[in-house]
Symmetry: C2
Subunit: 148 residues, 2 copies
DNA sequence: TCAGATTTAATTTTATACAACCTTTTTGCC
DNA sequence: GGCAAAAAGGTTGTATAAAATTAAATCTGA
């Protein structure tokens, strides 16, 4: 690529990723609205549906989010009756997040979400698999960079 | 995929996209810091470096951002001396954004940014091209959905 | 054992994002 | 011309995000 093209928006790999990520969040919104969830909140719920409970640190590592984002988000989810927060008796620094009955029951309704989304992405299965692999590879490369 | 797996975080196509997008923004930050730009502001600058000037509507269409995001962002960029805002004499509704000398001069320094980023993404050229194509395909599919 | 280092959350500050709504201006259309 | 509809940008309210700082609890090595 010529130097003078390297600053064109259309040459950027990062821009469609950034834009598609935001459009995806917007596409999720109407599906999650009936459960009163936002997309990041839905991700927290997925971790909890799978693992039962998790510390704030665990959630942060799973979702690549820090406490500055999670703490206010979890506070809202708690006030909406989806989760409970308790201190770990073994280590009082750690806050354990778990599901309420309501939060747990939402799992059944949530199965409709990935089903509906798969119709919206406009990719066939091979493309979706390829995109999945590439975004994870990119994510891991960027995370490795953070250590140094 | 089995139904019970469909809500696992590791089955989601959207999550690595969402996480990688945020990690990318973080990776850009130190490169842009010396120019006092954030990643979204850098995108605005790229449009202006390429086109010279653009209305708020043009910027919104190019970057998939609405006035609720752009208006305060452009206000900051103006106060930092990077851009100018003038009303279009042809259409008083429209605000034309253009570069100051300082903003224009930053283009030379910015060539270092895509060069540095290409080393960070951990993808070879074929993978980068493939990811570019897939994210644009996804972006366009999601945008088409918005009309309906 | 106990002082310092580390870990874990919470808080604060700054900067997006987006939906919903509002104001001003322009455009159609009769 | 006159007026409804559309277009453009701004405003408000809510929800992330991330960096930097603080505070509390735990761990660790001399």
């Amino acid at each position: 690529m010529k130097r003078e093209d390297s600053l064109k928006l259309s040459s950027q790999l990062c821009f469609p990723l950034y834009a598609a990520s935001r459009e995806l969040t917007k596409a999720y919104a109407p599906l999650l609205k009936e459960m009163g969830l936002t997309y990041p909140q839905y991700l927290v719920m997925m971790v909890l549906w799978e693992d039962g409970s998790a510390s704030v640190k665990d959630l942060g590592e799973s979702l690549c989010l820090d406490s500055g984002t999670l703490t206010p988000m979890l506070k809202k989810m708690e006030s909406h009756g989806l989760i409970l927060k308790t201190r770990d008796p073994e280590d009082q620094r750690s806050v354990i997040v778990s599901l309420t009955k309501k939060g747990s029951d939402f799992k059944e309704r949530a199965y409709a979400v990935p089903a509906a989304m798969s119709c919206m992405i406009g990719l066939d299965e091979a493309e979706a698999r390829s995109l999945y692999a590439l975004t994870y590879k990119l994510l891991h490369a960027l995370q490795a960079r953070e250590q140094s």
